[in-house]
């Protein structure tokens, strides 16, 4: 009786479907085959319009047909917003139409674009593809470790070895250390990077951009997508670029240029980890609830590229380390990769579910560089570039349903990073390729974009992420249990267990109150190995036009002084790797939050870690932000 009641209350779906759904859920819950896992019913059931909007699908047979696209009128999400700005979307904005619009010229976005054009060539047809990128240059906002697994690239561009791809340094050794304050204890390495390459992802993306342009893909760097465009049926029909030339007080400068509506029959979001528009889409269409996915969990990675002494340089050497300077309760680790040209990539990754609000990941990174084993390598060298970015750690458990009416989410915006391998580039690229294939099918043959979900689950991406799913959550129980489970998983289990561990609290909820925690004293920088934030920031080449409204929005402007500062000790002034958030004294001597938006590295840590989720990262004017070239 109770069950019948529960079924009847499910308004959005016909009763028969709901009964089927529950029946199949029970059937498959005991199976360990990921393709039959209870979350993924859509493989078996016909694709109904299950999108949360509740409105019936448009009567035309193919929602992606060029016909129905032209008939739909674009409504801006802004016109529903509560008085944010009064410029209506219909008046004064030019609209440009494409078959496919991709937001973000990163590995996922460019792989999707390239795959689309390849399919066009195979089937002797053509689709117009546009990629918008907020960085001033393709690759300018790309930063990653990176020990690259060429699996997806081999599928996408099999002849990359003959095409001067910036992939030259083969990984030659895998060292794994447990660091204490003074020692580096070598441990058996859990990594096997044979066949992988140490690269600068920024360089690779630049190269991919060149390949994409050769295929006729239009890439527009320097344009930030600030809004999603919807039609009358609440389907996504594209994005609008941000108005340029608005001064700090909100008025139009003499250089004012309104944004442009870029409409696509299919829109793919490839904004990277915690993409600002992707998060809105996931919330709006309840894409995590669709598949009972957990919340996403994140880490903040801070990286520098050094040019070191020739004698200390060993191209191909890969070092990973655990332990110091992080305490056993904080998940994270460091890496040091030897690239070519006497360059090494060095970084620290700190999981953002750390408890102590006084933790300062940037300062922990500075401490790391003074460790004898690291100092020995860096001494005599100079820093070339600095940068920071958050990355996904949620893995399998956090993957949302990546398809929405009008398009899909690819790459880290959905979250395909393999945490124990610490690699996400190959899976991001593959997800882009699969989405491209689904989009091509939808546009060319009238199939459904849902095939992207199906092909994801049938691909090596799924197998990999499923096998890796229990590593990270095990660390919720502590460092030693975590390491123990990792060892078990790595040598024995390889993911073949009938259970899936859950993540702990969401990162922003994990922060303890300041009064319960001990403040941490960090040493002063020495200017040789460790540096202050402004010096490091200068090396990221970051800049924004000063005279624009701050792109970091506070939902409630009083919360920083009322909650963040007294309750949590102002964590944003500590986790931000760019010193954007500072508390200064106002005229009455009271502390007030000052937002130095110009410094922003676009890492998204504040959007993730703010305890009350009061800080919203929105996109600034295109062309601003860091200018990474070797990261």
């Amino acid at each position: 009786m109770k069950k019948m009641k529960a079924l009847l209350l499910d308004h959005h779906r016909p009763l028969s479907f709901t009964i089927m759904h529950r029946f199949l859920l029970k059937l498959s819950s005991s199976s360990t085959n990921p393709l039959r896992n209870s979350k993924f019913q859509r493989l078996i059931l016909p694709s109904l319009n299950l999108f949360a909007s509740g409105s019936p699908p448009p009567p035309s047979a193919n929602p992606y047909s060029a016909d129905s696209f032209r008939k739909s009128r674009a409504f801006s999400s802004k016109s529903r917003a509560l008085g944010v700005r009064c410029i209506s979307s219909e008046a004064g904005r030019e609209a440009i139409e494409y078959d496919v619009v991709i937001i973000g010229a990163g590995p996922a976005g460019l792989s999707a674009a390239i795959r689309l054009k390849q399919l066009c060539q195979e089937k002797n047809t053509d689709l117009s593809v546009c990629v918008v990128e907020k960085g001033a240059e393709v690759g300018g906002h790309v930063i990653s470790g990176n020990v690259f697994e060429p699996l997806a690239l081999d599928e996408l561009l099999p002849h990359w070895r003959q095409e001067q791809a910036p992939i030259e340094v083969a990984a030659s050794s895998d060292k794994f250390w447990f660091l204490t304050k003074d020692r580096a204890i070598p441990l058996p390495s859990p990594f096997d990077n044979k066949g992988n390459y140490i690269i600068s992802l920024s360089q690779l993306v630049r190269w991919l951009g060149g390949k994409a342009e050769e295929l006729g893909i239009e890439i527009y760097p320097g344009f930030s997508a600030s809004e999603v465009l919807y039609n009358a049926s609440d389907e996504v029909v594209g994005i609008a670029t941000k108005d340029m030339g608005i001064s700090k007080d909100g008025s139009k400068k003499e250089t004012f240029q309104p944004g442009v509506d870029i409409k696509g029959r299919v829109t793919l979001f490839a904004e990277g980890c915690r993409g600002s528009l992707s998060e809105k889409i996931i919330k709006k269409y309840k894409l995590r609830e669709e598949v009972n996915a957990q919340h996403q969990t994140y880490a903040l990675g801070i990286k520098e590229v050094w040019e070191i002494d020739e004698s200390k340089h060993n191209p191909g050497e890969v070092i990973h380390a655990l332990g110091w300077p992080l305490d056993p309760k904080t998940y994270g680790g460091s890496f040091l990769y030897h690239m070519n040209d006497r360059q090494v990539a060095l970084g620290l990754v700190v999981a953002l579910n750390y408890k102590n609000p006084f933790l300062n990941p940037y300062e922990e990174f500075q401490k790391l560089k003074h460790h004898p084993a690291i100092k020995r390598i860096l001494e005599g060298g100079t820093v070339l570039q600095y940068g920071a970015r958050t990355l996904n750690e949620g893995g399998f458990q956090s993957i949302p349903y990546p398809v929405f009416p009008g398009g899909a989410i690819i790459g880290c915006s959905a979250g395909f990073l393999n945490v124990p391998k610490i690699k996400g580039t190959h899976t991001a690229m593959k997800s882009g390729m699969l989405a491209a294939e689904a989009a091509f099918g939808a546009l060319h043959e009238g199939s459904n974009m849902n095939t992207y979900w199906d092909s994801l689950r049938g691909s090596w991406v799924w197998k990999e992420l499923y096998a890796a799913r229990n590593y990270r959550p095990a660390f919720e129980y502590g460092l030693i249990p975590g390491l123990a489970v990792s060892a078990m998983e790595h040598y024995v289990l390889k993911g073949k267990v009938p259970f899936t561990l859950k993540h702990g609290k969401a990162d922003h909820e994990a922060t303890d109150l300041a009064r319960k925690c001990k403040p941490i004293e960090y040493p002063k920088p020495d200017g040789v190995l460790s540096f202050d934030v402004p010096t490091s920031l200068y090396r990221s080449n970051t800049n924004h036009d000063h005279d624009q409204p701050s792109h970091l929005r506070l939902k409630d402007p009083k919360i920083p002084e009322k909650v963040n500062l007294p309750e949590y000790g102002a964590p944003e002034s500590r986790y931000c790797p760019a010193r954007v958030y500072e508390y200064v004294e106002d005229e009455e001597g009271k502390p007030k939050l000052q937002i130095n938006a110009q410094n922003c590295l676009h890492c998204k840590a504040c959007d993730i870690k703010d305890p009350k989720q009061n800080i919203e990262w929105t996109v600034p004017e295109g062309g601003g932000g860091p200018a990474y070239s070797v990261m």
Binding site: E94, A136, G140, Y220, T255, N541
Partner: protein, 252 residues
């Protein structure tokens, strides 16, 4: 009237530069390049003059490697009508550039040549002046306020920023004007304009076409970083200060 605007592709102003280990120059590999900010201002002023009806055509010209075409495309996206790319494999010093621009001016016959006052990579502040001298044209450098053209388009009134303040000159056309920071705020290149710019013509020319002798009398011997700034010393009295100025710094 035609306006010729010379634009230079330089290291972006926000990028931290590094001297190459062999000291032959600044490392420009994998570094973000953009149009020189003063050249952007020059192009903006030319576009405004055209929009005011005093000129028919704005031609952007750049001298350098193939990537200069990107800089020209930005110029075309801002509103220039066509571009000229003079191919050159090495970077040239101002006199060579001036000779090239003179040859171009002989071919194109512009009524005005706009340049930025200096490039942010070499800070020479010479090219505009040299072009004017080679052509025998009047010059108005460091233009800061409005450049007003007479209705007959035979002369221009230019406010110049000089050490003592502002100087207003009247120059007969054709003339060379170099632009300073406060002249205007360059417009953004909008997406539709970037798309339109793809179909605007860029003519390629070589140094042989222009019959320019590129032999330079100047050779760059070495490029080094400026010496590291030593930390300051706090003195405890005026006498100590005078002593240090006399005996250590030798400036008194």
């Amino acid at each position: 009237m035609k306006i010729l605007v010379a634009v230079k592709r330089v290291v972006d102003y926000a990028v931290k530069i590094r001297v190459k280990p062999d000291k032959t120059g600044v490392d420009t590999q994998n570094v973000k390049m953009s149009m020189n900010p003063f050249c952007e201002i020059a192009l903006e002023e030319a576009l405004r003059i055209k929009e005011a009806g005093f000129a028919k055509e704005v031609v952007a010209v750049s001298i350098g490697p193939p990537q200069c075409v990107d800089t020209l495309r930005t110029g075309l996206a801002m509103g220039a009508d066509r571009g000229i790319h003079v191919e050159a494999n090495s970077s040239f010093l101002p006199l060579t550039i001036a000779k090239i621009l003179k040859s171009l001016a002989d071919v194109e016959n512009p009524g005005l040549i706009f340049l930025g006052k200096q490039a942010i990579d070499d800070d020479c502040n010479q090219t505009g002046q040299m072009v004017a001298a080679l052509l025998g044209w009047p010059q108005a450098t460091f233009a800061s306020k409005v450049v007003v053209l007479d209705k007959d388009k035979q002369f221009a009134t230019v406010d110049r920023e000089v050490d003592g303040g502002l100087e207003t000159l009247s120059v007969d056309l054709p003339a060379v004007i170099t632009t300073d920071l406060r002249l205007n705020q360059p417009r953004y290149a909008t997406l539709p304009n970037i798309m339109k710019a793809k179909s605007k013509p860029i003519k390629k020319m070589t140094l042989e076409d222009l019959k320019v002798d590129i032999k330079s009398d100047i050779e760059i011997v070495e490029v080094t970083e400026p010496p590291k700034r030593k930390s300051g010393v706090i003195v405890s009295s005026v006498d100590e200060l005078i002593d240090k100025l006399k005996n250590e710094a030798h400036v008194v």
